[in-house]
Symmetry: C2
Subunit: 230 residues, 2 copies
DNA sequence: CGTGCAATTGAAAGTACTCAAGCCACGTGG
DNA sequence: CCACGTGGCTTGAGTACTTTCAATTGCACG
């Protein structure tokens, strides 16, 4: 989540996220172990007992839910430094899967939380992370509840852009299906919006997994709904 | 939030919420003061400095955002025992308004958070509250991203039912506009769905602010998308 | 140079929205 | 006591946007 924080696509858009990385350094790493995952590999499933929580060291992870009718909802993407699996109580609320080859730090859950609670400073940092994440979830509620397909995709492109801290040669690390499931859309709609953006030169695409933003302000406007793109 | 917790409209639906009330008793109440609000009165506005955080003692509050185009998004409703305004950093992320006549406990923010951080036990409880709230926000993301209008309204009715812990004579404390803005719909759509439910006897309505659930399982099915209501 | 998966495109259908009118309860004032 | 106005809710008709279903294209890999 850290890397997605620099630019915010909402007018309510708030402070830049503090990278969870900071927390990593301060956190109790002694009891943690490294686990490596291949692309597509599942770390845990929704409903699994949750003895550990995790932190991305390398690669990109996603957390998702599978609905009764088989559709999926991608709760979030996590890149280097981000904590995940923390807000789950006794069992995991999502399924976690590697989008790329990954390495994750595995913290024994109870010991980890206890050691955080024991230190006022760590507690404060951890609270900040949770509050920020709650804030971000609520931003996303506005997005899913009120924004058009074009606005959602535009906001997502901006997030990717800030994640990779550039406006050219930005990679889609995740599939169209992942994007659609994250934005509450279908792959077809995502594809059509991207085509529209491409035709109106709001973005340039070298291939289906790589794009550039020639004029970030126009994309910003598209995300904010200031001006629709045709 | 406490009172909404008994029944969960999602299959991912997780554990019942612990009432924030528990926390109230344990919390540092010495420095807190009571503030009373009339129906419709605003406690604070989005962007205001946030020197306090609050807890509902009486009545129902709502928090909402106003979007650039004037539409609103109701982040959540809070009833007796619920904490709110906590996840905001230096300034409030939402506007808080009284839906009914209210009384709220006002905690000086920094002192409050410090005293929480100082006690491992309080820290743990506070973390639980935040995690639960994050979890709920993510449930709502699924709702807004993937559920139909009928499913959203059904889930909301179930929430009201569990809040008031009964299936007959349940009150809508909030307006249709508030409901619509909470569910990412329009008042017309909310109204139409209620009419459909009424016609198919999934609910009974004595007047526009009062309803009953004769068969809660049918409403459950409607919320889960097992069977559509016509 | 096929094979297979991912992404794109097209056409048709459906759902929720917009705009507009009507209804109803309630409070005010003649 | 009743006419009137107001605000909240409901209903209707038409529209716009997204989805669904069905091909088709593009690209990586054997």
């Amino acid at each position: 989540m850290a890397a997605f924080a620099n630019r915010n696509a909402f007018e309510n858009g708030a402070e830049p996220l503090k990278s969870d990385m900071t927390f990593a350094a301060a956190g109790p790493a002694a009891t943690a172990s490294i686990k490596r995952l291949k692309t597509g590999e599942t770390l845990y499933m929704e409903g699994d007992r949750a003895p550990y929580c995790y932190q991305v060291v390398e690669g990109v992870m996603k957390e998702y839910n599978t609905l009764a009718d088989g559709r999926r909802h991608v709760a979030d993407f996590y890149s280097v430094g981000d904590l995940f699996g923390i807000s789950d109580g006794g069992e995991h609320a999502h399924t976690a899967q590697a989008i790329t080859d990954c390495a994750v730090l595995r913290h024994p859950r109870n010991a980890y939380l206890r050691s955080i609670a024991a230190s006022p400073e760590l507690s404060q940092q951890f609270l900040d992370i949770l509050m920020t994440r709650l804030h971000r979830a609520r931003q996303r509620l506005i997005m899913l509840g009120r924004m058009s397909a074009a606005q959602r995709v535009a906001a997502f492109l901006l997030r990717l852009s800030s994640e990779q801290q550039k406006t050219d040669k930005i990679q889609f690390v995740m599939s169209r299906q992942d994007i659609a499931d994250h934005l509450g859309l279908t792959i077809e709609t995502v594809s059509r919006v991207l085509t529209t953006f491409r035709n109106s030169r709001v973005i340039e695409m070298t291939n289906s997994r790589c794009f550039a933003i020639p004029d970030i302000d126009r994309l910003d406007e598209a995300a904010h709904g200031v001006k629709a793109i045709h």
